[in-house]
Structure formats: C-alpha cells, structure tokens
C-alpha cells in the first residue's frame, strides 16, 4: 500500500531523512513517534509529496509518487491528510469546507456531496455546525471538521500529522475518539503523534524515529514495554514521566 525505498531528504545541508525503508500494508495503522526534529513530519509529508524526496522512491496505492511527471493531484485525491493546525478554509462554511473538493476536484454533484458531507459531520458529531464558519468553532471542533473534510474524499489512506498537538488538553479526547472511530472502519492510517495511549489502543505497529532514521519498528505492546533501542528507552522515559 505504502512503500519507502532508500529515501533520503535534505533541506539544504540538513539531512532530515536518512535511508528510509518502510512498508505499510492495506488497513494497517502505523504510529510514528520520536523526538521533535527527528523527521516524523517530513516522512509523513513525503507520502503525499507535500515534500519532494532528494533520493529514493515511494509507492502509494501502486503508484510511484516520486516518479517524474506523475499527476500528483490525482494521487492525492486518494490520500487524506489532517494537519496540526487544521487549515480549514476560513472563507467557507463547515459544509462548504467539506464539499468543495468533492465537487470541484471529483466532479460530484452538489446534492450528493452535501449528503456525504452531512454523513461525516454526523460521524464527528458536528452536524449542527454545518453552516458555521471555522472561526466560530473551538480548536477541537475545527480538527473534527478537518477529519470529516479528508474522509469525504473517500481516501484509501489517511495521514495525521500531529493532529492533537495544537489543541488545549480538554479537546484532545474528542479528536482522538473520532480517530479511533475511523480506525475501526479499517482505514489505512499513518499517524504522527505523542499520544501514547492512542498508539497502544489503535496501532498495529509503532515506528520510532530519531535524527532522520527509523531506529525501531515493533507492535505497540512490545515497543512500549520492552524497547530494544537505548534512544527509544530514553525517549519513552522522558515523555511517560509527564
């Protein structure tokens, strides 16, 4: 489903991804963790090519997205993404935020797009806010709308780039609940997060990154209870203390 092959990425002289090899199967839920600056976000952003790689290759849904001339806008329609800072379209209502891409990108008729949108709004518990503007919602509500927006494109993969990091603590739960719900549907998910509880509950596999390398890949129980790598142990002890 997703495959990284010897991927390297530089920002100028900064080597942010070092020889990444990673395979994620259909329906698999992978949580990527690691200290800040370890390259987690860059890794996930390479999947839908918001970042171009410096070398190596990436396949998503059978398409080599790193090949030159690939119509990325087509590839991206099947990869949903949720951002740390939501990035809802501020000039559109909640409903319009969700229907815009299905109508303009996929060419779905408006009625149908709105039906789909309302379905996902109900699933994230915000049907009542359909005609509100993003600025009228709390952070947690905005992020739930962002998830609905991504799902409405009926993607095959969902990418979550630190979806709860910008939220007040009391709003984190509502967003995680929605993500758990999405996971239950069998969606392929790649999640960059610091929420260890979520990782334990949902992940099939935890990928630990540090300084641009994947240092350890393991099922969550094994990783959290008995990490192999010294640096993983150090990282876990630091964040679990809090």
């Amino acid at each position: 489903m997703i495959r990284f092959e010897a991927v390297n990425k530089y920002f100028g002289n900064l080597h942010v991804l070092k020889d990444i090899n990673l395979t994620i199967g259909a329906g698999e839920k992978v949580v990527v963790i690691g200290p800040s600056g370890s390259g987690k976000s860059t890794l996930i952003r390479c999947i839908n090519q918001l970042e171009r790689v410096s070398s190596g290759r990436i396949w998503v849904n059978g398409v080599e997205v790193t090949a030159p001339g690939v119509p990325l806008h087509k590839v991206r329609q099947e990869i949903g993404m949720v951002f740390q800072h939501f990035h809802l379209y501020p000039h559109k209502t909640v409903l319009e935020n969700i229907t815009l891409a299905p109508i303009k990108v996929k060419g779905i008729p408006r009625d149908e797009a709105e039906e789909i949108a309302m379905y996902y709004l109900r699933r994230v518990g915000l049907a009542a806010k359909a005609h509100a503007y993003p600025s009228q919602l709390s952070g947690g509500q905005q992020q739930r709308v962002a998830i609905a927006r991504a799902l409405a494109m009926k993607p095959k993969v969902m990418l979550f780039d630190e979806p709860t990091s910008a939220l007040d603590p009391e709003m984190i739960g509502e967003v995680l609940d929605v993500m758990v719900d999405v996971a239950r549907d069998g969606m392929t998910m790649v999640v960059v997060t610091h929420e260890m509880g979520f990782a334990r509950q949902v992940a099939d596999r935890v990928v630990f990154m540090d300084e641009g390398r994947i240092l350890e890949e393991a099922p969550p129980d094994q990783f959290f209870d008995n990490p192999r790598e010294e640096r993983a142990r150090a990282f876990l002890s630091k964040i679990l203390k809090h």
Binding site: N48, L50, L72, H73, K74, R76, Q77, I79, G80, M81, F83, H85, F86, H87, L88, Y89, P90, H91, L100, A101, K104, V105, K106, Y133, P134, S135, G139, Q142, R149, A150, M153, L159, A166
Partner: protein, 226 residues
C-alpha cells in the same frame, strides 16, 4: 480669487469638459478591466511552482514598473504605425494604461497571495486541487479581502495616469482642458475645474479603500488561530 466672467466662460463650455470626462471614464474603465485581468493572471503565475513562468512574470513586472507610462503610450501611438500597426487612440490608451497598471496590480495580488498561510495551499493540495484550482477556489478569495485597499489605490492611480493620454490627442479630460485653456487663455479656471472633476472620480474610490482598510483591521483574523 474670483473672476466671475472667466468662470462663466467655463460654465458655458461645460459640455466640452463633460465629453472629456466621459472619455476619461471610458478609457479608465476599460483599462481597469484589462489591468485586473493581467494583474490576477500574472500575480498567480508569479508565485507558481514553475520557475520559467515566474521568470517571465518578473521580466514583465520589472519592465513596466521601471519605465515611464508616457514612453509606452508614445511607442504605441507613434512607433507601432511604422510597423504597420495603427491602433485607434482609445485602444492605445487602454492598452498602455492597462498593461502598465497590470504590473502594479500583479504585485498587489502576489503580496495578497503570499499573505495567506502556506497551510491553505497545502490543505488544498492534499485534497487533490491543482495549483490553479487551489488559487481560484481557496487562495484568491481570501487574498482579495486583503488586497482590496491597495487594489483600490491602484484604480485611483490608473484614473490619474489616464491624463497622460492628453499628450497623444487622447481626447479625454486633460486633453480637453489643455486645448480649451490655451485657446481661451483661462488656465486657472480650466485646471481647477479639471482637478475637481478628477476628484469626483477618485475620491469615492479612495473613500471606499479607506473603509475597507478599517474593516479589515477591525475584523478579527479569520486565519487559523495560533
């Protein structure tokens, strides 16, 4: 400073000035449409992910921002006919003003686009929008709110700059004033009247610009909170 007889002479000939005003409105209006079209297209392309296209927009903007409008007008009016292309003077005016102002407007649009958080473009990309679709549906509608005040200032500039057409027999307000005043030797009256007439066109626009600016400042940012 009132010379009743001379002012009456001016009033007697009001129709002559009114026709000039009409021509100024016509030329400015058409030039404005052209300038807006060019400005939006060039503005969008000037931040596009295609390097050669960005280069071309730079050449256009730098050339027209750094050469006098009157040179463009003279080139089109006196120069082109020698190449076998003789545009009517109104077309010369609209083209010169439109292309010149378009360079300024494209810079305004570019600044507006760049003022929109990069995350908006990424969100659009992640949903499968192409660059141009993202601009059209997501970035430009937001950018327009930001650029309305400077855009209106450019409209005011365009109207003022249309006076250059007087130098190529453009038959607009300034041209009429030039002709009338030196025929009648009544310069003070003619140019006072013309200044007032230009104000009638530009002042409402400038007022709108100021209002928009205040509203923009007054409104809480609708960008993603953070």
């Amino acid at each position: 400073m009132f010379d009743l007889e001379d002012w009456l002479t001016l009033l007697r000939d009001w129709r002559y000035f009114a026709e000039g005003l009409g021509q100024t409105v016509k030329a400015s209006g058409l030039a404005l449409l052209l300038a807006l079209g060019i400005g939006v297209v060039v503005g969008v392309l000037s931040v596009a992910p295609w390097r050669p296209v960005r280069g071309l927009t730079r050449v256009y903007v730098e050339f027209f921002q750094n050469t006098p409008l009157v040179v463009h007008a003279f080139f089109l009016y006196y120069g082109l006919p020698h190449l076998g292309i003789s545009l009517p003077v109104l077309a010369v005016g609209v083209l010169a003003l439109g292309v010149y102002t378009g360079a300024y407007i494209s810079e305004v649009i570019r600044a507006g686009i760049q003022s929109i958080h990069r995350g908006q473009l990424e969100a659009a990309y992640s949903q499968g929008f192409t660059y141009l679709q993202a601009m059209r549906y997501i970035i430009l509608p937001q950018a327009f709110r930001v650029v309305m005040p400077p855009l209106t200032n450019q409209m005011v500039n365009l109207i003022k700059n249309s006076a250059v057409l007087a130098m190529i027999a453009g038959d607009e307000l300034m041209y009429r004033a030039d002709g009338w005043s030196s025929y009648n030797f009544l310069y003070r009256q003619a140019y006072t009247a013309v200044a007032l007439l230009y104000l009638c066109l530009t002042l409402p626009l400038a007022t709108v610009a100021r209002r928009l600016e205040q509203r923009l400042l007054g409104r809480e940012s609708r960008e993603v909170p953070l």
